[in-house]
């Protein structure tokens, strides 16, 4: 949207309960701009699919408003919403050929056959499946069926396309390939995409913004870089990428920096992101690739003594599991450069990081 006034899709105070007691979605507020690729990411049971189904119209919101293009759609049935959807199991009509599958949404809209042929041809070209027009879905591989499902959801030119874990059934290599393909189709067509997945690398690869769901609440809504670099709470820090946690207590706060005494007794400094102030328990979060292993304390870094428990050689880096401040799952990714090859199991070097890379977050039960 050019003027940036009204969002294209808007969830306002949306709640959903299936049994009238427990809320699957708790007070959801989410605004999606036109042309955006927004991913709802979260573990199973976090409410992300329910949100998607409410947007598609297959579930009704128990409370709150959902708006599309500035108009409330709570009372509009799914078939009148004009939203394209790609399903987890593709949901291709097995009794129709590929071309008939793509023709279906156009016929329903009463288009002329010339127009239909042109659009179907273009959609098949887009996913490079023109030669398969006369096959039945059963004669296609999983990846091919996925492309047809994608083409079918786009052929009637909806402004909004929903995707419910569409790559879940594909093998890893094909999945990665399809991620790029979907990303490019999104960029070329400029449609708004709402994508649901539990795979964080998929979310990071494709999205403009990611909404991390847990327990029916959006934990953080941000672009991939912010989400990874600046998680706002312990759940997001744990869920996105790898993360080392150290438990401690805030002893003082000044200028956004918290001094924290770890449970082991060591004192470190960290950015105060999400703490309840002085005296509260906190969980420090440090990314494995932001830690350095040094033989001695290094100036300008927070350093703690550690013990190397395990070394895994991964070619480009060495994965080093250490015990640091009582946490024996502390991972450091050591780049495979010449001067780092002296690591040995049982050695007790220092582990250091910059204060900016260490974030003091809320305490989350693992």
């Amino acid at each position: 949207m050019l003027d940036g006034s009204d969002p294209f899709v808007c969830f306002r105070n949306v709640q959903k309960s299936y049994d009238g007691e427990t809320l699957v979605v708790k007070n959801l507020n989410l605004e999606i701009e036109s042309g955006e690729f927004v991913t709802m990411l979260g573990p199973s049971g976090s409410g992300k699919t329910t949100c998607l189904m409410m947007l598609a119209g297959f579930e009704t919101a128990t409370h709150g408003e959902i708006e599309l293009g500035g108009k409330p759609i709570n009372n509009i049935p799914p078939h009148k919403r004009g939203i394209g959807m790609v399903f987890q199991n593709y949901a291709l009509f097995p009794h129709m050929t590929v071309a008939e599958n793509l023709t279906f949404p156009l016929k329903v809209r009463g288009m002329s056959s010339g127009e239909i042929d042109e659009k179907v041809g273009r959609a098949l070209d887009m996913v490079q499946m023109r030669f398969f027009a006369d096959r039945k879905p059963a004669q296609l591989s999983g990846g091919q069926q996925q492309r047809i499902a994608l083409a079918r959801a786009l052929v009637f030119e909806p402004e909004l396309v929903l995707m419910d874990e569409p790559l879940g059934a594909l093998d890893k290599q094909l999945r990665e390939h399809m991620q790029y393909e979907i990303k490019h189709i999104h960029e070329n067509l400029g449609v708004t995409v709402v994508y649901v997945t539990h795979d964080q690398s998929e979310a990071l690869t494709m999205s403009n913004r990611i909404a991390v769901f847990d327990d029916g609440v959006i934990q953080q809504l941000a672009d991939p870089v912010t989400l990874y670099e600046k998680p706002e709470n312990a759940f997001v820090a744990q869920f996105i990428g790898e993360n080392n946690t150290l438990a401690g207590t805030v002893t003082s706060l000044s200028g956004g920096v918290a001094s924290v005494t770890l449970d082991s007794g060591d004192a470190v400094k960290a950015l105060a992101i999400n703490t309840d102030g002085k005296g509260s328990a906190t969980q420090l979060s440090v990314r494995p690739e932001r830690c350095v292993v040094t033989p001695k304390k290094k100036a300008g870094l927070s350093s703690l003594k550690g013990r190397i428990e395990e070394l895994i050689y991964l070619g480009d880096h060495i994965r080093c599991r250490m015990t640091v401040a009582g946490n024996d799952e502390f991972i450091v990714k050591v780049p495979n450069t010449a001067d780092q090859l002296g690591l040995q199991i049982g050695a007790e070097p220092y582990v250091g990081w910059q204060t900016d890379d260490c974030r003091a977050l809320d305490v989350k039960d693992a």
């Binding site: 049935p77 009148k80 959807m85 399903f87 279906f104 809209r109 039945k136 059963a138």
Partner: protein
């Protein structure tokens, strides 16, 4: 036949062959009464037993007279030369022809009625939001379980009150009630394999409920609907109890005509009709089996 593995003991060998013999005997037990009827229907004599000539495979001992009798019995002028008038006479006056016409008319009407009702019921009962599904299901299929004579007697009293007994409509409705459970069962079984996300996909593509039903759901469950309908037809076609209670001579069906044939006329025409019915049943069963395979193939397509 696969060779027995070398380690089989004598006991196992004995069992291996006796098992097959037992299976064959059970098969004969089931099929023999039907098989006996087939050659007897070609008997030249008006008896229900094998004549010495038949046993000796004497061609003179066999004939098609009882098949001809299906047409001739009751005709005004059975010995008139073969012409359109003769066929018109047979069509209008022969007792068996009337019974055959009645059976097909009542059977097809009852089949259509029970297919429509049963399919709708099965679709409703397959929806998860439907309350008391099991209870309603067992009530709907109770005509299969309740002894037929009780259902028929109940319908006789009920239909007599509302002037439906002794009418075609009454017989059709009675047969539709008996046939509906078959449709419900076969369609429900087909719906188990129906991927519900197809309905959602059709909705998301802009198809309303009615279009979705006819374009997506119906083509995929049609094998179940058709085989249910055929079962309903067969149920009506060989039903005699309800007809005994509810039908007047005007609505006489084939089984009813056989019933009176065996009690009053004792003519092997019954055997000829029975042979034709066996053929019809074989054709219908073949169709049902072919449809079942087709539906399995379609179902195997849907990734779950």
């Amino acid at each position: 036949m696969a060779q027995l593995p070398p380690y089989t003991t004598t006991g196992e060998r004995v069992w291996h062959y006796s098992f097959r013999v037992i299976c064959g005997l059970i098969f004969l037990f089931l099929i023999l009464p039907v098989l006996i009827v087939l050659p007897l229907s070609f008997n030249v004599e008006p008896y229900f037993s094998f004549t010495p000539g038949m046993l000796a495979f004497d061609p003179e001992a066999y004939s098609l007279r009882w098949y001809k009798d299906i047409f001739r019995n009751g005709m005004a002028a059975p010995d008139a030369p073969l012409s359109l008038a003769w066929f018109a006479d047979a069509w209008n006056n022969a007792q068996w022809m009337r019974a055959i016409r009645n059976s097909f008319f009542i059977g097809i009407c009852a089949m259509l009625l029970s297919t429509a009702l049963g399919t709708l019921a099965a679709i409703g009962l397959s929806r998860s939001e439907m309350p008391y599904r099991r209870l309603i299901m067992s009530i709907l299929i109770s005509p299969m379980i309740v002894p037929l004579v009780i259902t028929a007697a109940g319908m006789f009293f009920f239909y007599s009150k509302i002037q439906l007994s002794q009418t075609y409509l009454g017989v059709i409705m009675a047969h539709a009630i008996l046939g509906t459970p078959f449709v419900i069962i076969t369609v429900t079984a087909t719906l188990v394999g129906f991927d519900k996300s197809l309905v959602r996909a059709a909705n998301s593509l802009g198809a309303g409920p009615i279009q979705t039903f006819f374009k997506i759901q119906m083509p995929l469950i049609i094998p179940g609907v058709i085989s249910g309908g055929l079962f309903a037809f067969i149920t009506s076609f060989d039903e005699v109890v309800a007809v005994l209670f509810l039908a007047s001579p005007e609505q006489r069906t084939i089984p009813r005509q056989m019933w009176s044939g065996i009690r009053e006329q004792i003519s092997p025409t019954i055997l000829a009709v029975a042979t034709l019915l066996v053929l019809l049943s074989i054709i219908l069963l073949t169709v049902i089996e072919l449809l079942r395979r087709r539906s399995e193939r379609l179902r195997g397509v849907t990734p779950s």
